[in-house]
Symmetry: C2
Subunit: 131 residues, 2 copies
DNA sequence: GCAATAATGTAATGTTATTACATCAATTGC
DNA sequence: GCAATTGATGTAATAACATTACATTATTGC
């Protein structure tokens, strides 16, 4: 998925997430952007849909929240399975990718002839500082 | 986590999930149990909390829904990491466990000194029939 | 310019989950 | 037995998350 030029709203949401310490809910993003003219949830959700599609943002299912992708690359190519550790103490989220897990999951789904479209891996717990 | 005797509400919710073809949202469960005296969401959520604690039920984060554990064992011992395939077509959910994935995730989190409390693995896609 | 497409604005509504407080039942200690 | 504690339940209100519907504006292709 090549990333096209972002629109005004997409840029505002992307910047909000990029400059955030951690993940933000859609409504938190909305509040942050009220000064920039945002008035309704849909403005956020529409921008997020596109940013998710472009791979610039990830959704954390277990938090109902969103986080900027931390990958250094330019997102010209789809990065594979994305996994996260999420600290319950400080809220820190760490994104990581592992080829071994990806291949193992691929083998397991292939065995049941399941066609994977999206894989969610989220590990809740406590980081080193918060242990 | 040894499973104590279930209370009346816990039994009703457990039965509803056990007899369901697939996962159900809390509000769907509520509707199913209105004839049995359920009136408010909290009655469902409280029962689900206990059933989750006992390992009899799993929460599907990407669906905001709940499903009865499909493991044959008696839940006397905690089964490790649970993963699911979820078909977008027919709604079929398949629970599986894999030692290799569990060990790999364990190694990865240990490397960042992260203390895991709960791991979510959910694979969305299409099953063989719905491909 | 004009049609087609994509993005935006706004309101209303739908869905999921929690807080607060009162009541009831079972268990424990004496 | 009985008070005290604990766990479970009932009910209402509210909070948090997400979508539908419809109107308007901006951009693109011709
Ligand atoms: Zn990423
Ligand atoms: Zn932490
Ligand atoms: Zn299970
Ligand atoms: Zn299917």
């Amino acid at each position: 998925m090549a990333t096209p030029q972002l629109t005004k709203n997409q840029t505002l949401v992307m910047d909000a997430l990029s400059h955030s310490e951690g993940p933000m809910s859609a409504y938190t993003i909305l509040d942050k952007l009220r000064d920039h003219g945002f008035r309704a949830p849909l403005q956020v959700y529409r921008a997020l849909d596109k940013l998710l599609e472009y791979g610039l943002v990830h959704r954390l299912e277990s938090l109902n929240a969103f986080v900027a992708c931390s990958c250094p690359h330019d997102h010209e190519h789809d990065h594979g399975v994305t996994a996260f550790t999420i600290c319950e103490g400080c809220g820190q989220v760490t994104e990581f990718h592992d080829e071994a897990i990806e291949q193992r999951l691929s083998a397991l789904t292939r065995a049941q002839s399941f066609k994977t479209e999206k894989t969610t891996i989220e590990i809740r717990g406590h980081c080193q500082s918060c242990a």
